[in-house]
Symmetry: C2
Subunit: 407 residues, 2 copies
């Protein structure tokens, strides 16, 4: 927790009714919550967000779930019960934003489609995350969205193929998280626009569209292809070498003759004067040769030695870190991107802390903060219902009849 | 171009003075421009954005540059000339947002640091994209940021290693583009907050922080590790198989017994009853065996055959497409993610069109549009300067003395 005090943040006063689960939607609403929005997570009593099923568990709490749900409240309510739906509709009446990432048709079948929500609460921004878009050849089917499908469909797995040409999934959730950011963008754009029009609007983002946007540069090169080589084959753009104590990357770009500087650091003759390597096209063509010359020198010293030497001539060099090394890296710690959050698991022990990723968007005057850990299923049912006018007696009755779940 | 008419969009009326180049910053300001902000790109006369140096070229225009700079205007001005700086300061006085992604210290050395800009124009939001953060062990050095450095530092290359354990860069600009989205988020959050406080604030996002956020789920699993396996080893989560006509992916998740459905589709006995595959842990342990059984069946038919069969039992299946196949895929076309933009190159020929990626954030009432192709260096110098009060004579004098460049 970077701060325990509540104060005005960028989204203070914005209420979000959040039907999302797993990664895409929760990664969006986590950012809304980090920046001060009141995010009320609607969960199924007993089961909750599907991400709770993924381990590892600490203090009986799913770490994947915990990573994307801090700063939120949980209302556990049975959406198939009329009394439960009535409570959710009351909540929607008080909402600035309604977010979901169910598969196509689910919100409509619950009576929570755009038309119904907009008619009840014209100021509410209505946001849907989908796998493929809300309509179209795949979007109009009930096919579920998933990061693996989006990566397959958008060329990511194809360009990430192994040396045998077998496609390989990029091992981070590029589709889910980039789409989550875009959904957040859409919501805050619509909040700005509501300041002018007074009305909420529909916001839609799909996993495939989000990945395609990530690939805009690459797509522009293949979709408008000419004979000219593109720079991704340049061996000076992110070449991987094995130093005495592990792998590192060298990138020499954006200066007149980076190869000359690299050779100077390596203590070898200037290969930029060598006919095999005297242009980017030639370096690309003879990349394997160039890499083996560089590799023979790099392996003589450890990575820190090289990083300091390359820094001095303004050529980029970095050790290749694993995820757990990364989260302990001094600059990462300085940026408060590896943070401690108290455990909120079943055992409820405040002596256990969890490590999670911090807040990347750094606002100077009204920074986001982590105020509360991820909630248990229905942990805030009582307060949320009380806040929209339910009495203690009504809440107890709803609990007794299984309409809601509490903590 | 999806539309040629100008109408109110979410960010209509917001003026952005944009010092960014290459990918990170321009991917942020492209989104601001798509949603209606007036983005004025400050370029060096004659040279311009560094991305203009990357091919392929169409009609003498760099396609990578074109992909990230549509809807913007270009003012080419020499920042080292006092008269040029005076014009830029006048422009900043009229700005809602100032964005840069120079290396550490450059904006300050130009006299355009936060203190100076905030003193001149307290309403301006001051936004910096960096490689590593604005301070700290690496952030405080002049080390340049680059996608390859961020991927090395954050575990992406490590987890993407090839079968020999050699780290491999994810072949899309995950750091640049995710950081660009977060920078956009920060800007709109600060615009919302300015509506309350009346003052602009500082917004900072780094490449490494953006990637770490993408990895929140994975980091939560390794940083809070227990004995329990995490689901990424599950062979039903994105397994790659070779069908009769190419590669495809199968993902069976979020249903009680996906392996049973997969076997039913393949027409083989129910492997979920087989002791080797009767739990996710066992499937993971015996993953190679399971994959070879599935592979033997998949290769008998083409991909479309399997996609239809798997769709019918609600198991996810998708062909692995290349980038150029992806941009022609029917759902992608339906989503208007592969768009035609008229060429704006040196030849200025309106008969040439370019293919680019569309707008992924779909707003229902005030959708973003592509109104103009990416500008040439200084294409809008004259209008921009006229708009802040310069006379034609003054502009001609600045052009003659090399203070500005035009078209």
């Amino acid at each position: 927790m970077t701060d325990n005090t509540s104060y005005r943040k960028a989204l203070t006063g914005i209420r979000v009714v959040d039907f999302t689960q797993v990664i895409f939607g929760p990664s969006c609403t986590a950012q809304l919550a980090d920046h001060g929005a009141e995010v009320i997570k609607i969960e199924r009593p007993g089961v909750g967000d599907l991400s709770r099923q993924f381990g590892p568990y600490v203090d009986d709490e799913s770490m994947p779930y915990a990573s994307l749900n801090r700063n939120k409240q949980s209302l556990a309510v049975n959406l198939k019960s009329p009394q439960g739906m009535e409570a959710v509709l009351k909540l929607i009446d008080s909402a600035d934003v309604v977010v979901s990432n169910f598969r196509q048709g689910v919100m409509e079948s619950l009576g929570l489609g755009w038309d119904e929500v907009h008619a009840r609460n014209p100021r509410a921004i209505y946001t849907s995350g989908s796998g493929y878009g809300p309509d179209g050849p795949i979007g109009s089917t009930r096919k579920m969205g998933h990061d693996s499908m989006a990566q397959a469909m958008t060329g990511v797995m194809y360009v990430n193929a192994d040396s045998n040409g077998v496609p390989k999934r990029a091992p981070i959730a590029v589709a889910d998280i980039s789409a989550g950011s875009l959904l957040m963008e859409g919501i805050i754009l619509a909040l700005i626009e509501r300041g002018v029009s007074g009305e909420g609007q529909k916001v839609e983002v799909s996993l495939i569209d989000a990945v395609l946007r990530m690939e805009a540069w690459g797509i522009a090169t293949v979709a408008n292809a000419t004979a000219e080589a593109d720079h991704l084959g340049n061996p000076l753009d992110g070449g991987v070498y094995s130093a005495a104590d592990g792998y590192m990357v060298i990138t020499g770009l954006f200066k007149p003759n980076p190869l000359q500087s690299i050779c100077e650091v390596l203590g070898i003759e200037d290969l930029s004067q060598d006919g095999r390597f005297s242009s980017v096209d030639l370096m690309t063509e003879n990349g394997a040769e160039l890499e083996s010359i560089i590799q023979a020198e790099v392996e003589k010293h450890p990575r820190d030695y090289w990083v300091a030497k390359f820094d001095a001539v303004d050529v980029l060099c970095m050790p290749v870190l694993s995820l757990d090394e990364s989260i302990e890296e001094p600059q990462v710690l300085h940026n408060e991107m590896g943070v401690e959050v108290p455990s909120n698991g079943a055992a409820g022990s405040s002596t256990i802390t969890q490590r999670h990723v911090g807040i990347p968007v750094k606002l100077g005057t009204t920074p986001g903060t982590i105020e509360t850990p991820a909630p248990g299923i229905g942990e805030n049912s009582r307060e949320v219902l009380a806040g929209i006018g339910y009495s203690n007696e009504e809440i107890d009755q709803m609990l007794a009849t299984g309409v809601i779940g509490i903590g």
